[in-house]
């Protein structure tokens, strides 16, 4: 066995450049696959994480008749005394934050410009506001007693050419089906780096939002973040309450989950293409080696080497090429992934509705992907050796000895 690898190693050493480039091809293939897998994983993670943090939360409690698409504001579609309920939910052990939110649709106006917006009334004290607090680029966050302050996104501020302290008027739907207009002072400008979201989402305090929409002491939802996603089912069971409905992040983000599945399938196709190209290079190298070494194969066969052993010799070469390729691939791929994980890729405004994705993708490589791809690379190297090895094993010693004479 050891002898086999010694022989294989020396055989690869005969044509160092060719061996190196074959290993490099495999290494680059592996590196590209690692990068693709990590970018995809990072993208999907971010999409899910972003959508949960900005939009859906891990869980939402809603009135059973609440219609998300219509942003219903009728009292019977809302939750009554939401603060009380939020407090109760927040006291559950797995819950990180639970806070009432009120949604209304409106139009922001400044000068002759206007922009359709979703108005969200929030409890400024809640920990669930973290993405906006952290994302503040100017001014300050809303305070609980703020009666005319508004928080807007950076893209909207740029579009309207407004800054902190400037005024903005908001036309907003109310509970009785009419509209109301009111002027607000911009307290702060936030950015979540998710342009479509930031452009069309503005925040008021919950009290102010309730007042202007005439929903009094009602909220659209209780927005819940968990300490650990895995606790979802347990909390859902604890929350089951008569006339209310509980939605999980999976139910609310089906689109993201579907996109993830689709992306995974798409990825497998890309994997196969990259691997096929890589395999071709190795097959080529080894077939060339078989023909170059025809006479040697004849000699080894003449002194009694069995076909299986001759095949094993080529498999050993391929394993060594594979290991070389994997080392190159892990180093190259590792560097690319580290770069992509820290610097990220700027993808600009690519948010798909229902799926919130920041303007940069950061790669995220899982150990599972790394192991799977590494093993796959080795398997590809071995599969690629099959044909050349068979070719060598099928040679009749007499012909092989003759073949070398020329």
């Amino acid at each position: 066995m050891l002898q086999l690898f010694k022989l294989a190693f020396r055989n690869l050493g005969r044509n160092r450049r060719r061996s190196f480039f074959s290993a490099l091809a495999l290494g680059m293939g592996l590196a590209i696959l690692l990068l693709m897998a990590s970018v995809l994983d990072g993208e999907m993670r971010q999409a899910m994480e972003g959508t949960i943090r900005l939009q859906s939360g891990h869980l939402q409690v809603r009135a059973s008749t609440y219609n998300e698409d219509r942003t219903s504001l009728a009292w019977e579609d809302l939750i009554e005394k939401p603060d009380e309920m939020a407090r109760k939910i927040a006291s559950l052990e797995p819950v990180a934050a639970a806070t009432p939110r009120l949604f209304a649709s409106g139009i922001a106006m400044s000068g002759d410009k206007s922009q359709g917006v979703r108005v969200i009334g929030i409890d400024p004290a809640s920990a669930a506001n973290e993405p906006y607090i952290k994302g503040l680029v100017n001014g300050e966050f809303l305070k609980s007693d703020d009666r005319d302050g508004i928080l807007i996104g950076l893209p909207l501020a740029e579009k309207f050419d407004l800054n902190v302290g400037d005024r903005l008027s908001l036309l907003i739907n109310t509970s009785d089906g009419s509209v109301d207009t009111q002027n607000f002072v911009i307290r702060g400008i936030y950015s979540t780096r998710t342009t479509p979201y930031d452009k069309s989402t503005v925040f008021l305090t919950l009290a102010k939002a309730q007042a202007i929409t005439r929903t009094e002491n009602h909220a659209s939802i209780i927005f819940i973040l968990l300490k650990d996603r895995a606790q979802t089912e347990a909390v859902v069971n604890a929350l089951q309450a008569g006339s209310l409905q509980v939605k999980t992040w999976m139910q609310m983000n089906e689109l993201v989950l579907q996109t993830e599945q689709f992306a995974d399938a798409y990825m497998i196709v890309l994997f196969l293409i990259v691997l096929a190209i890589t395999a071709t290079v190795i097959v080529n190298t080894l077939v060339m080696a078989v023909f170059e070494r025809t006479r040697e194969i004849g000699i080894l066969s003449a002194i009694g080497m069995r076909s299986s052993r001759i095949m094993a010799m080529f498999f050993a070469e391929s394993v060594l090429l594979g290991i070389g390729g994997i080392v190159i691939g892990l180093i190259l791929g590792g560097l690319m992934v580290v770069y992509a994980a820290n610097i990220g890729f700027y993808i600009g405004n690519m948010g798909v509705s229902g799926m919130l994705l920041g303007d940069r993708i950061y790669a995220h490589l899982t150990l599972g992907d790394t192991i799977t791809l590494t093993i796959t690379a080795l398997v590809v190297a071995l599969l690629a050796a099959l044909y050349p090895a068979l070719l060598a094993a099928r040679m009749e010693p007499v012909q092989a000895l003759h073949g070398g004479k020329k």
Partner: protein, 234 residues
């Protein structure tokens, strides 16, 4: 006892529509310890016969026995098994594995036979000494002269203690002194170890070493002469 025996062996090569009869009904028996030359003009079938004696090839008709075993109808792996450890080959081109040192080339058949490392070491060194190449053990073939390479090939052929060594024009690519040295080594090893040698040649200087001369002509044995006296001193 006979090491190898053929009975009415024919070998017909087919290339496309063209059939070449390389051997016609050849019956030949090689006894243990022989030092036999196979002679004949080019194309007379010497190489073909050696390949059949060495179980490298299969006869079109007729039968071949090696150490009493019928090897006429065996598959590739079975033939490899028969050859391994039983038959040594020496070729006209110095058929060494270029990536292996002289030592490793000689060691190869022992590895294939599964000898223990200490046993291998002793045997290889003993053989390299027998062919006068102890100081070249770690040289690769491309660092050896033709004569030295052929001596390594002899050592390799001898390594697993075979019953039969077949040499196809072992001196054809060597100059006279080197060719003579090769023949002297083969002759000495034959005398000392009793291993049977059959070698094909058309070199008269080589033929004179033989104790039996089988002449082939157009695929037939045209004469088979036993020479009483041992190799003459030239």
């Amino acid at each position: 006892m006979e090491v190898v025996k053929t009975e009415n062996v024919s070998r017909i090569y087919k290339v496309g529509e063209v059939e070449t009869i390389a051997l016609r009904d050849v019956s030949l028996s090689i006894e243990n310890g022989e030092f036999t030359a196979l002679i004949g003009p080019s194309g007379s079938g010497k190489t073909t016969l050696l390949q059949l004696l060495g179980c490298l090839d299969q006869p079109t008709s007729g039968r071949v026995w090696i150490n009493g075993q019928d090897v006429s109808r065996l598959n590739r792996n079975q033939r490899a098994d028969v050859r391994r450890g039983t038959i040594g080959f020496i070729f006209q081109f110095f058929a060494l594995i270029p990536t292996l040192t002289a030592y490793e080339n000689v060691e190869m058949p022992l590895l294939l036979n599964g000898h223990a490392p200490s046993q291998r070491r002793e045997r290889v060194m003993q053989l390299l000494e027998a062919v006068g190449l102890t100081d070249r053990a770690n040289n690769r073939p491309d660092q050896l002269s033709g004569g030295q390479q052929q001596r390594v090939a002899i050592a390799r052929a001898l390594a697993p203690n075979p019953s039969l060594i077949l040499a196809d024009e072992p001196t054809a690519n060597l100059d006279t002194p080197n060719g003579k040295q090769i023949m002297e080594i083969m002759e000495r090893l034959n005398r000392e170890t009793g291993v049977t040698f059959v070698f094909a040649t058309h070199d008269p200087r080589v033929i004179q070493f033989a104790r039996r001369v089988v002449a082939l002509s157009d695929g037939l044995i045209s004469s088979d002469t036993v020479i009483e006296q041992a190799a003459p001193v030239v």
